[in-house]
């Protein structure tokens, strides 16, 4: 069996048992990258500094990740390695410091092999908003991989990295995971440090793993979860060993199925597949009940106010003074500012900055921003109450499977792709997307499990169980260029 098809957990075990050498793993993966990357275009930059000849297994023997490769989204700061956010604004920006997650991976003995493509500044649901090129869904040449962590999802799905980190502000890990047939977890807000994650919307952003199975999600959470004194919004608490929750056991789990979500416009095949998965969980001993929640459309509306408001402020620093793009030949300071931002930002980023500036501007704050923050309270309370009774709330991850590149032109139509993922960020709770089937075009379908604050282990156990019960045995997508 080809090594690039193996999961991180498998590879780790094989290394420990000395059944394989680190070199062989890297060789297999780079072979795969060489073959499929020209088609998939998952990476913005590959880490050229890894010298395979000098890779000494002994250095990693005592580490948790054993020197295994990890891909990360290009919005996490890497010292001496470009961090572009797939934006022209930061095309040549090389940070002088590492994000906390990057340090954690390094300390755990992981090697960052590359920076993955994304929607510019994580704004989008298709990775078409990358200033460089769109990424292609490995399951369908003309399909988007989802977004904004589309590069991470595609890299994992195509066997170019066993695991990858993404960031999730309104579904940016779970939606591409669902589109690409991989597992993706958005942890509780405050579980993983945001230090070094280039901010889109600070009160919603969270880093999480994407992988080919739940085992690897648990493994990566063991590495990245935890307090960070550099991030005031990171919560100081102890986390369990998540791999201990890799148990096929949902006996006694109480699962809520939100009526309001399933009444929405969802592809029949998606709905069917998700309901089938729910039935399987019920068969395995879980209790399933229908529940009422605040409509997801309200969460989406609140999201587009809060996220864009924060973004308009977070992205104001790109002014051409200290780093990044600067427009040339500007006559004066103000021209330099506006020209730089005109040239450096893509259309979607500008649109969101405009919306965010508008909702915060004098006279509108109460009507929009304050109102959205109040709705946020309603949604959060809703979940808090539900989780007093239920262990999980389940929905489709997305209403459809991967759409075609160039298909969605209208911004609102694109925003609707996040309808089921956004409420989770608004409430700050964790959620995981797990593959639950394929549609008739052979495109993956994902199911979303949502849990209470800081109960990632519950999600991991349920997701693991579901993975075992469904036993989808996802093979690798046919990629034309494969040799």
């Amino acid at each position: 069996m080809k090594l690039y098809t193996r999961t991180l957990s498998d590879l780790k075990e094989m290394l420990v048992e000395e059944r394989v050498k680190l070199d062989d793993i890297y060789e297999s993966i780079s072979y795969r990258v060489k073959n499929v990357e020209p088609l998939v275009k998952a990476y913005v930059n590959q880490n050229e500094e890894i010298d395979l000849d000098e890779l000494d297994e002994k250095d990693y023997e005592d580490t948790y990740l054993k020197g295994l490769p990890i891909a990360i989204k290009d919005n996490m700061s890497t010292e001496n390695l470009k961090t572009t956010c797939s934006s022209k604004m930061l095309e040549d920006y090389v940070p002088p410091y590492n994000a906390t997650v990057v340090n954690k991976i390094k300390e755990a003995g992981g090697i960052i092999t590359g920076k993955t493509n994304m929607d510019e500044f994580a704004m989008g649901s298709s990775t078409e908003n990358s200033a460089f090129n769109p990424t292609v869904n490995p399951w369908g040449k003309n399909r988007v991989p989802g977004g904004s962590s589309g590069g991470s999802a595609a890299a994992v799905a195509a066997g170019m990295a066993p695991v990858a980190l993404g960031s999730d502000t309104g579904g940016s890990i779970r939606q591409p995971a669902s589109f690409c047939g991989v597992v993706g977890l958005k942890p509780t807000y405050g579980a993983v440090s945001r230090y070094g994650l280039v901010a889109f919307a600070s009160s919603l952003d969270q880093i999480g793993p994407l992988a080919r199975n739940v085992d690897d999600i648990a493994l990566m959470m063991n590495v990245i979860a935890g307090n960070d004194e550099k991030d005031s919004t990171c919560v100081d608490r102890t986390y369990p060993d998540f791999t201990e929750y890799l148990k096929n056991d949902v006996e006694g789990y109480k699962i809520g199925i939100p009526n309001q979500y399933f009444e929405m416009d969802i592809d029949d095949e998606v709905k069917e597949s998700v309901m089938n998965a729910v039935k399987q969980l019920e068969k395995a001993g879980a209790k399933v009940e229908k529940v009422d929640v605040t409509g997801a459309e309200y969460a989406l509306a609140a999201y587009y106010i809060i996220a864009t408001a924060e973004a308009s402020s977070n992205l104001a620093r790109y002014d051409g003074v200290r780093y990044g793009l600067r427009a040339e030949d500007a006559n004066n300071l103000n021209d330099m500012f506006t020209e730089t931002r005109q040239q450096g930002f893509g259309e979607e980023v500008k649109r969101r900055i405009m919306l965010g500036t508008y909702v915060l501007s004098a006279g509108y704050y109460d009507d929009y921003y304050l109102k959205a923050q109040k709705v946020r309270t309603l949604i959060k309370n809703d979940f808090d109450e539900l989780f007093e009774e239920y262990d999980l709330i389940v929905s489709p991850t997305t209403p459809t499977t991967a759409f075609e590149i160039g298909e969605k032109r209208d911004p609102l139509e694109m925003y609707a792709a996040d309808i089921f993922t956004v409420p989770v960020n608004i409430a700050g709770i964790p959620a995981i997307s797990v593959p639950c089937g394929f549609d008739n075009k052979g495109l993956p379908i994902g199911i979303q499990l949502m849990g209470p604050h800081f109960k990632e282990e519950k999600l991991i156990q349920a997701a693991y169980s579901l993975e075992k019960i469904l036993d989808l045995d996802i093979d690798y997508p046919d990629l034309e260029m494969e040799v």
């Binding site: 919005n75 996490m76 700061s77 961090t83 956010c85 930061l90 920006y93 940070p95 002088p96 410091y97 994000a99 945001r194 230090y195 070094g196 994650l197 280039v198 901010a199 919307a201 600070s202 009160s203 004194e229 550099k230 991030d231 005031s232 919004t233 408001a309 924060e310 308009s312 402020s313 104001a316 620093r317 002014d319 003074v321 200290r322 780093y323 300071l333 500012f337 500036t357 915060l360 501007s361 004098a362 704050y365 921003y369």
Partner: protein, 482 residues
Amino acid sequence: MDNKFETVIGLEVHVQLDTDSKIFCSCSTEFGKEPNTNTCPVCLGLPGTLPVLNKKAVDYLVMTGLALNCDIASYSKFDRKNYFYPDLPKAYQISQYDLPLAKDGYIEVETEEGTHKIGITRIHLEEDAGKLIHEGSIDKSSGSLVDYNRTGVPLAEIVSEPDIRTPAQAREYLNYLKKTLEYLGVSDCNMEEGSLRCDANISLRPRGQEQFGTKVELKNMNSFKAIEKALAYEQKRQRKLIDNTDEIIQETRTWDEDKNKTISMRGKEEANDYRYFPEPDLVPLEINENWAEEIRERLPEMPSVRKNRFIKEYEIPEYDADVLTDSRELADLFEECVTEYNDPKEVSNWIMGEFLRLVNEEKMEVGDTKITGQLLGKMLKMMDEDVISSKIAKTVFEEMFHTGKDPEKIVEEKGLKQISDEDKLETIVENIIEENPDAVEDIKNGKDKAIGYLVGQVMKETKGKANPQMVNQMFRDKISEL
């Protein structure tokens, strides 16, 4: 005084809080370093960085609030103030908008008309911006250079109520504020280094009218004197406009120190829409009773309280107490010395006399001198014990002032010890008697004054080291024996 119109002034003071590290990162706040050497990813606003609040900045602000009789907010938060300028790396300043840490305080200043109460609207915590240096004048320069060393130095913004009625009161208010902050040790209030900055709002209204007139904002005053002058100028300018029934425009005016007048900044300062919203990267602050109480207990005695205590406890004149409590360091020096040498008035004389003379002469700050209360006390004891004369004491004092050396050591090293040895003095005394027959004759004839002259000769001979009382007695004894 203007009988028809009343002046209404409010002041906005920014003071840098004297923490070691910046408000949201661990960079040093030291002034005067090479450009951009006190910066890091956080204060440069690099993508992905996050602020973490410095506890001492909070403590200092709460101290300031308590000392200015404010209510301390039990729940407070930070907000972003959004605007573009090259000295603001994130293009927003982390500040406090609707929930400042302290509010509703007041101070009382003594004026010619008696005690005047000035309300403090609010005090909030925020970060300072960087420094922009224009190549040439701002209008003609080809570009500007940005230094971010100052970015992120903690600032307290102290906003007064429009309770100030004269430019002189404004100055009194500032003096009081400065003295208080220095006493607290939370800021050095150095206007030259920019650690205290002040903007003013000023308007006129007919006496008896409650509604405020159109206000003008004044900026760019670099000293308390300049603030007083700018306010006085503006007061006159507005009065003239009223007399001529011209309209007063609500605007920002800048003080031109050279031309001694305020100049309109029309057009240069557009009305800003700062789009404040809660800073999502920082969590709320809750100052509970314990925390506030802990800080209250650590508050030093305030200047006016200390002054009254000095008068009562040490029985020194009010004038002395006033001078001594002018700065916390001076008052500390005094008290430290009194515990060592229990003659408060004598200690006060030395501090107000020799000490302040030297401080002024050398253009030093009280805190920069090497002398301690203990050393001064020791020296005063040595005088009492006739180890040194009062003349020598001045020499010893000056040495201690500069070096902080022990007075005993100075006396020993420089051979300044008073000669109280009769054998040693006897020869000198006899020589002087021999050399001055006229004076001796005068003394014999009852002209006692001449003894002083003879003693002076001995002091000259011994370079001031002879014990004058002893020499005096010796002359009396010897001459009566002649």
